[in-house]
């Protein structure tokens, strides 16, 4: 099934409220756990803590860090009607054990698990990986303000 009108804008996904600067030197797993904690209040009404953490941990095994040093752990839930995202910025970054790449930005993405939404899901993944190039990630890593970070990403 192909849906032609499934364009998405980053501004609908990323805003100052869901951008977080993670302190210290978390490992990959710790960084994902921290972002999952930040995500929980946003979806708590429809997804239980256990289901969220369980599903994210499950799919995280399949996800891979992109060559650009950007990481998009993502999971799909049938209960959702739209995208939910939290962006984590780690100024010092962590080294991905699988690829040896240094990761300074990661985005936890939850999508509706529906066939008619899959095209948009792919579009978002493509758009995120296109946007988070090494130059942008380095610029984000030196920022302190979530609003500035969101503006830099969305261009607004």
């Amino acid at each position: 099934m192909i849906r032609q009108s499934d364009g998405v804008s980053l501004s609908t996904i990323i805003n100052p409220e869901n951008v977080f600067f993670l302190e210290g030197k978390p490992s990959k797993e710790e960084a994902v756990l921290q972002l999952t904690e930040k995500m929980l209040p946003r979806v708590a009404a429809i997804i239980s803590r256990k289901a969220l953490f369980g599903r994210v941990a499950e799919v995280e095994k399949l996800n891979q860090v992109l060559e650009s040093g950007f990481y998009i752990p993502h999971a799909k839930f049938p209960e959702l009607d739209g995208f939910h995202a939290v962006l984590g910025i780690i100024p010092e970054g962590f080294v991905d054990p699988a690829t040896g790449l240094r990761v300074k930005a990661l985005l936890l993405l939850l999508s509706p698990h529906r066939p008619d939404f899959f095209q948009r899901h792919l579009n978002v993944l493509s758009l995120l990986s296109q946007t988070f190039q090494p130059e942008l990630i380095e610029k984000l890593a030196v920022l302190k303000d979530p609003a500035a970070a969101a503006a830099l990403v969305t261009g607004k």
Binding site: M1, I2, Q4, G7, L62, Q64, L66, E67, S68, F70, I72, H74, T99, G100, F118, Q119, H121, L122, N123, L125, S126, L127, L128, S129, Q130, T131, Q133, P134
Partner: protein
């Protein structure tokens, strides 16, 4: 942008192996071998059983239609077929070794009989022209033919060592020229017969004592009635030589494969009946019997040209055309004998029944020079031993032809039972359905004819029987010893360095150097990994239009950490390519196989697809991750590599598996 290149090395499998040809070209390749017998079959048959020869040559040509039917069914079952493969599948390796030994005898003799015949035709023409030019040289016809044959064989020996490919274009030009000459000759001969009237040749064969062979010792085996017909048929069957070439060329026929095979077969049949059958018949109606048996015995069609109605200069002109067409066609058959025997011996070597010593590649040209040397030396020896006696060569020739046809037909009958569940696009007609089996009554009838002719030839053709049995047993012994030696060293086998050349691979530093080779409007990328999971490639090959679509088949090997080059492909990697090539041949469509070393297969796909400007990416489903995860990874790799300043081109990403597919658009 991402600074790190994702490829270490790009290997491209040369498309020369995967270029497909039209049915015209396929038919012309077969006809250069099969049709060339028109120049000698009639004379040889006349020498064996007298004026009844045109009936039997025509009969053999009509019979060739039935044999072409058997070959059609076998081609459709085995893309890379031929006698060896068909017999091996039906009766096992021992019988396959025997049949291929007989086939090699056929191929080995094709060279000498063709080159000597060409020499005899040329010699006959020169003996007519030189007096007109006041040149009083006299060279005995057979001596001239031997010298010419050795020179031609030496030329193609050198050409095949150098690896000069047989050009289908040249074959087509030769057959086009021969066709023009044939039409001219048939028309002129028709007018001559119309003016002179004609008497049909007798149907009863009258055998020379030599042609009766050992049957003279069996008083009960009278050369009359049905037995006489079988004997005469056996003496004419050499006109069937060259059908095996159809099995060899089938893999190269373009899409739609079956339709084009049918057209090629019909073309071959019509040409053969008219060219070999009709012209031989017309020769018998026009040329006086004593001249056929004497002056024109070894250059019958020259005789036809010279005995037509008209002034001498015009008949001599016609002879020039006949000789020119004959030399071109016969010389082409010499090359076919090299290419055919080299191809067949390489095929059996792949199966481990020919020692690797024979497969050694020439340092400079990368050809299997030892096999070519063996064929060339054997052919030159046969030419010298024959001393230009075309009848001696003709007598020996039919042994290999008949045995290979008999083995092939018997095997096809057995396969009807052994592979009864296998779908066949076409079956040889006259079958009776019994349960799941189509009992091949038609093929059994053909086998009976072949067995009768084979058995009779064993008795009547002393040279063929002794020479053929000795040759076949020699090759069978070589195959048997080779197989045992290969079995012993199987455990110690180490891949040799020549493999890359055998696969015709070339290395490129960057995918962009390959892009200019893609010239068609549409481009489809098909990533492959498992040679047993090519369902998606089959789906693409089935539907893609070869004229408008470049199919890029990408195999990516994970190589952690991008280092400098120097990687080589393993045997497993090459197995994937072999399966891809085989499938492309099955559908008759061109593919561009590319192999890359990469960190991540999805990056490779995205990178190749973007560099090549692909319209579609068609993946097979992964058992470990599943279709959705594959598409997600591809979408991420796609986005990461996409250049923001380049306008987005809609690209479809598909995952295909049994009975299903998922299609999404990459943005």
């Amino acid at each position: 942008m991402v600074p790190n290149p994702k490829f270490k090395q790009v290997f491209v499998l040369s498309t020369a192996m995967l270029s497909f040809i039209s049915f015209w070209k396929a038919a012309s390749i077969v006809l250069c071998d099969f049709g060339s017998s028109a120049y000698y079959a009639g004379g040889i048959a006349m020498n064996s059983f007298g004026p009844a020869f045109p009936w039997f040559i025509l009969g053999v040509m009509l019979f060739s239609g039935l044999m072409l039917g058997v070959y059609t069914e076998s081609c459709l079952m085995f893309v890379r077929g031929g006698v060896y493969v068909v017999v091996r599948e039906a009766m096992g390796k021992v019988m396959a070794k025997l049949s291929v030994s007989a086939l090699i005898f056929d191929y080995t003799l094709t060279g000498p009989i063709s080159s000597v015949t060409a020499g005899l035709y040329l010699g006959s023409l020169l003996s007519n022209i030189m007096p007109l030019l006041h040149i009083n040289w006299h060279v005995p016809a057979r001596a001239f033919a031997v010298i010419f044959a050795v020179i031609v064989t030496a030329y193609f020996w050198r050409e095949n060592i150098r690896g000069v490919e047989e050009s289908a274009d040249n074959n087509l030009k030769i057959i086009a020229f021969v066709s023009v000459v044939a039409v001219l000759l048939i028309s002129w001969a028709g007018l001559t017969i119309y003016h002179r009237g004609f008497t049909l040749p007798p149907f009863e064969p009258v055998f020379t004592e030599k042609a009766l062979g050992w049957t003279v010792h069996f008083p009960w085996l009278k050369a009359v009635g049905v037995i006489g017909i079988i004997m005469a048929f056996g003496h004419s069957i050499l006109a069937l030589s060259g059908l095996e070439t159809l099995a060899q060329v089938y893999r190269e026929i373009e899409d739609p494969k079956f339709e084009n095979l049918k057209k090629a077969v019909i073309t071959i049949f019509v040409f053969s009946v008219l060219f070999t059958g009709l012209l031989t018949f017309m020769s018998a109606l026009i040329i006086p019997g004593d001249l056929i048996a004497g002056k024109y015995a070894d250059n019958l069609l020259s005789g036809l040209a010279l005995e037509l109605d008209g002034p001498y200069w015009s008949r001599l002109g016609m002879q020039v055309l006949v000789v020119l067409s004959g030399v071109l066609m016969l010389v082409g058959a010499v090359n076919t004998s090299f290419v055919g025997s080299n191809g067949v011996l390489n095929r059996v070597a792949d199966d481990g029944i020919l020692h690797d010593w024979f497969r050694h590649l020439h340092k400079k040209f990368g050809t299997t020079h030892r096999i070519i040397n063996l064929v060339a030396i054997t052919q030159i020896l046969i030419i010298l031993i024959s001393r230009g006696d075309i009848f001696l060569l003709g007598e020996a020739y039919s042994f290999g032809v008949l045995w290979s046809l008999t083995f092939d037909t018997l095997s096809m009958i057995i396969l009807r039972f052994r592979k009864q569940d296998e779908e066949r696009e076409w079956k040889f007609p006259f079958n009776i359905k019994s349960g799941n089996v189509y009992v091949p009554i038609g093929m059994v009838a053909i086998l009976m004819v072949l067995l009768a002719a084979t058995g009779m030839n064993m008795l009547t053709k002393k040279v063929a029987t002794i020479g053929g049995v000795l040759f076949t047993m020699t090759f069978f012994t070589i195959f048997h010893i080779s197989e045992k030696m290969n079995e012993k060293k199987a455990q110690l086998y180490a891949p040799d360095e020549d493999n890359d050349e055998k696969m015709n691979l070339r290395k490129e530093a960057d995918i962009h150097t390959v892009v200019p080779e893609l010239t068609k409007d549409r481009r489809v990328l098909v990533p492959v990994r498992n040679p047993n999971n090519l369902l998606h490639l089959a789906a693409v090959l089935e539907t893609a239009d070869d004229d408008t679509t470049d199919i890029i088949v990408l195999s990516a090997k994970i190589a952690k950490g991008i280092q400098s080059g120097g990687e080589t492909m393993s045997d497993e990697d090459k197995e994937v390519f072999s399966a891809v090539v085989l499938m492309a041949e099955k559908y008759g469509k061109t593919v561009k196989p590319i192999f890359v070393f990469s960190n991540d297969p999805f990056y490779s796909m995205a990178q190749v697809a973007q560099a090549a400007g692909c319209d579609e990416i068609v993946m097979g489903v992964s058992g470990s991750s599943g279709a959705e995860v594959q598409l997600e990874r591809l979408a991420m790799a796609w986005g990461m590599l996409r250049k923001p300043d380049v306008p987005a081109k809609p690209v479809l990403a598909k995952v295909v598996w049994e009975g299903r597919q998922m299609t999404y658009q990459l943005s």
